[in-house]
Symmetry: C2
């Protein structure tokens, strides 16, 4: 909710709006509905998550991934920790840690979302990066 910078204008209203957009999409995601994120992802979005071989390029690749997950995700609740929005002009960079609870399992995430103000006045995601916080790696 805070901006950390002398360079970035403090813009609490924008920060609150961006965080609310993200939470709204997360709420739908946690009920198995990926459309919340798809609706606010720009055509030229680039995307990383820990299950992809490479960066996905463009909303069509993201849509293909997400449609395959529709109905399969069930998050009981989540905590968005210490969201920061760094904003300047038409770009807002949202970063946070997330703890999600799914039945008995707890997942810890790092997330970076870059939102851009589109020419139609809507903010959309142009870059998504999800990763695990301190993943428990199997050593080969």
């Amino acid at each position: 909710m805070i901006t950390t910078s002398a360079n970035f204008a403090t813009n609490d209203t924008l920060a609150q709006k961006i965080i609310a957009m993200e939470k709204s999409a997360l709420d739908r995601w946690g009920q198995g509905d990926p459309s919340g994120f798809l609706e606010i992802s720009a055509e030229d979005v680039v995307y990383f998550d820990p299950f992809q071989e490479r960066r996905l390029n463009g909303r069509s690749e993201l849509k293909q991934l997400y449609e395959g997950l529709r109905g399969t995700i069930h998050i009981d609740r989540y905590e968005m920790l210490n969201p920061i929005v760094q904003s300047v002009e038409s770009i807002a960079v949202l970063t946070f840690n997330l703890v999600s609870y799914e039945k008995e399992k707890v997942y810890r995430w790092n997330c970076t979302e870059v939102y851009q103000l589109q020419s139609d006045g809507q903010w959309k995601i142009v870059q998504t990066h999800w990763s695990f916080t301190k993943p428990n790696l199997k050593l080969d």
Copy 2:
């Protein structure tokens, strides 16, 4: 090297400059010298990598981490795969996959860097997110 978007101006010169800055810092990193990244990280940088419990906030936290790694990293060579720079006004978002070779080991990474043009005319990193590509997870 390409921009993917109707919204983002195509700016090959800027893309090449940002990619060159990243590679120059990576070259020094691979020789055990974290100063390349520290010199181009802004005071208000936020930072994720897979070994941190949470997002690091600010260059002082990043410096503490990186100084502890000075002299310990040795990358024989790396390949930066399909870098894209999405740029608008004073922000450039660089994303790429990276394959790094360290003795017999190969590491695959996802990376997002957000660069911002500072008031002194220098581009600096305000957000870094490193994660493993398809980490081999130990299931508890």
